[in-house]
């Protein structure tokens, strides 16, 4: 077991956790504002793709990240417009958005890069890996914490930023109010739709970062449907963490760790089919501990008499 649990495992776990964590924070902000964002998966996929496109177009990693973020925010606006403005069923809009992401990215992959399935350029530079002075010299912990892409550190900082935002600021307080009782919030003159759009845009921003970390931080390439369910795992992390940034961070850590373990286990002459299954099985098992709202509660909310 020494071979399994070593420094590099935890190091890669921290790396794998980042896209899930960023997306899950996005999901948490949306759900705090009263929107169930099933489109996380698609938004992250967009992010991954546009980060590569940005890199290809500008040659700069930082402009690429910015490009990805801006593009994903635009797509998140589609989700916002349909579900907030037109009051379409957010779940169906989210599912459709995932279809759009899959279709559009594979189309653009062909149209822009003229390849099928995956795009890889050996000259393309990924996100730099920061060696943090002092910390990197700490025996075990240094090896885990140091040497990641800046987005990894940004994700960790954002956890605390959002924790502060939601529970210590007026704007965060109003966002919580909108999610808790939109009718009451509206009666107080709080701009409900504006806040919800804000939440959707923030989740777009975060998913853009998540995608960039996926395609520029972990590897430097884009493959079709490369998110492979991470967006949905992030959704579970959101639910498990009760949309509380610290809780979301904890549950994302678990899933990222499982991702890392699953990759590591491939080196142990186990069938890859089973090692690949691990993150999904663990997610499923973790769902046992999170009780969904009962259908009675949900139906009551959906059929409230005050129309």
């Amino acid at each position: 077991m020494d071979q399994l649990f070593d420094v590099s495992l935890f190091n890669s776990a921290l790396r794998m956790v980042t896209p899930i964590l960023l997306a899950a924070l996005g999901g948490a902000i949306c759900s705090r504002a009263g929107l169930f964002n099933v489109g996380l998966e698609g938004l992250v996929l967009f992010g991954a793709f546009f980060a590569i496109v940005g890199n290809f177009l500008t040659g700069s990693v930082w402009l690429a990240v910015l490009f990805a973020v801006v593009c994903v925010m635009l797509f998140s606006l589609i989700f916002g417009y349909l579900s907030i403005h037109l009051k379409a069923n957010a779940i169906i809009v989210g599912i459709s958005l995932n279809f759009l992401a899959l279709g559009l990215t594979s189309f653009c992959l062909r149209a822009i890069f003229h390849v099928k399935g995956a795009y890889y350029d050996k000259d393309m530079k990924g996100l730099p890996q920061l060696d943090i002075p002092l910390i990197k010299d700490i025996p075990w912990g240094g090896g885990v914490i140091s040497g990641h892409s800046p987005l990894v550190y940004l994700a960790i900082i954002l956890v605390f930023v959002f924790q502060y935002f939601l529970f210590r600021t007026v704007r965060g307080f109003r966002l919580l109010a909108v999610g808790e009782n939109p009718v009451a919030a509206k009666s107080l003159g709080i701009k409900v739709t504006r806040i919800q759009y804000g939440a959707v845009l923030i989740s777009g921003l975060l998913c853009g970062l998540a995608g960039a970390q996926l395609s520029l931080g972990q590897v430097t390439m884009f493959t079709e449907n490369m998110t492979s369910g991470r967006g949905f795992i992030a959704l579970v992390a959101t639910m498990l963490g009760q949309s509380n940034p610290l809780g979301v961070a904890a549950s994302s850590m678990l899933f990222g760790f499982m991702d890392a373990v699953s990759i590591r286990l491939q080196g142990f002459s186990m069938p890859t089919n089973f090692t690949n299954m691990l993150p999904y099985v663990v997610t499923l098992v973790m769902m046992f501990f999170f009780k969904n709202k009962s259908y009675v509660q949900e139906a009551r909310k959906a059929n409230e008499s005050s129309r």
Partner: protein
């Protein structure tokens, strides 16, 4: 009364037609961006889908699993359950059908029937598992069905890569042995790919339509999806109905897998059911048709035509076949805005009825 029915019918059609036009418009923009000739591309798409009897039957046979999956999803959505696990249910259905046809002794037609049934059962059980977890432990069905897709696909991949692997041929592919010719689903036309599975799908659609429309339990399913509290109040047993509708829904998906294996592939090949995206197309077809069984047939045909047409586009123009996915996705997105359309109608109607509050 009949006029209002007719109006409703036309109203229900306006939305998808507008969505299709918008989808084609976005597609045209995408074609223009990649420098293709719009009219030529769409002409090739039409030819690829319906250009000859061969292409036409090809489209129909591609639509077959999409219809079946779509019917299963339709039933689940109508009952109010977001079953997104069609892919896993289909894979297990196909795998079990292949295993049954391979290892069950007996004459060909017995193997075939048994294989179809085992496909239905496998899909149904896998789907019911998610339903059970929701009913018993309140685990979000939408997410569990999705996660179960990955597990089913990896598990099936393992089986055909190791214990059930076909070692007879020279190719080292993860696949089962080929099913005996006698257990294949018969072809409808000589030399064409279209097989009897298409008839099964169409009959299934008609039966589901009649069931939802005219039977008491179909009525109960619809009410359950519409307002579960109202259904409970009226004596509908949610738990039972949920389990049954999930079984049926997964059964349709499993049947789709079985039909595809017995009619087209003749073996279970890893990835052969998931790569063409049948399951997701089926879900899209359901969304497109607003969970109407017969509408699902129509929208499945549309999606299949886009896909086979896309292949035609790929063969004969510079535009990549993924153009079909773009059109499909925009279609769904526009259709999902439907609720807003009926929302506007509601406002108007309310003003007419004179209810104020």
């Amino acid at each position: 009364m009949n006029i209002s029915k007719l109006k409703n019918g036309i109203g229900a059609l306006v939305q998808p037609v507008v969505a299709i036009l918008l989808g084609l418009l976005i597609g045209a923009i995408a074609i223009a961006i990649v420098g293709g000739d719009i009219s030529q591309t769409y002409a090739e798409m039409w030819k690829g889908a319906f250009g000859s009897f061969y292409f036409f039957t090809n489209t129909l046979s591609r639509a077959t699993p999409i219809i079946l999956v779509g019917l299963g999803t339709t039933l689940a959505f109508r009952a109010g359950f977001f079953n997104l696990g069609a892919e896993g249910q289909m894979i297990l259905g196909g795998l079990c059908a292949a295993i049954t046809a391979l290892y069950l002794p007996g004459p060909g037609w017995v193997k075939m029937i048994a294989a179809l049934i085992s496909g239905i059962v496998a899909g149904g059980i896998w789907s019911a598992f998610a339903g059970w977890m929701d009913a018993k432990f309140r685990m979000n069905l939408l997410i569990t069905t999705l996660l179960l897709n990955y597990i089913a696909s990896l598990f099936a991949g393992y089986l055909v890569a190791y214990p059930l692997k076909d070692n007879t041929g020279s190719a080292a592919m993860a696949q089962t042995k080929m099913i005996d010719h006698s257990a294949w689903l018969p072809k409808l036309f000589h030399g064409m790919s279209l097989h009897a599975g298409f008839l099964i799908a169409v009959v299934g659609a008609v039966l589901l339509f009649l069931y939802m429309r005219f039977t008491v339990s179909g009525y109960e399913v619809r009410m359950l999806g519409s307002n579960p509290l109202f259904a409970a109040y009226g004596g509908v047993q949610r738990g039972k109905l949920m389990l049954y509708s999930m079984i049926a829904s997964g059964g349709f998906a499993g049947l789709a897998g079985a039909v595809e294996v017995l009619g087209t592939q003749y073996r279970y090949l890893d990835g052969s059911l998931s790569t063409p995206g049948y399951a997701w197309s089926g879900i899209m077809a359901t969304l497109l048709a607003g969970s109407h069984p017969l509408g699902t047939v129509a929208s499945s045909l549309l999606l299949a035509a886009l896909q086979t047409g896309g292949m035609g586009v790929e063969r004969n123009t510079e535009v990549p076949l993924e153009i079909a996915s773009v059109i499909q996705a925009t279609l769904i997105l526009f259709v999902s805005a439907k609720i807003s359309y009926s929302f506007i109608k509601r406002k108007k109607a309310r003003a007419q009825d004179g209810s104020v509050v």
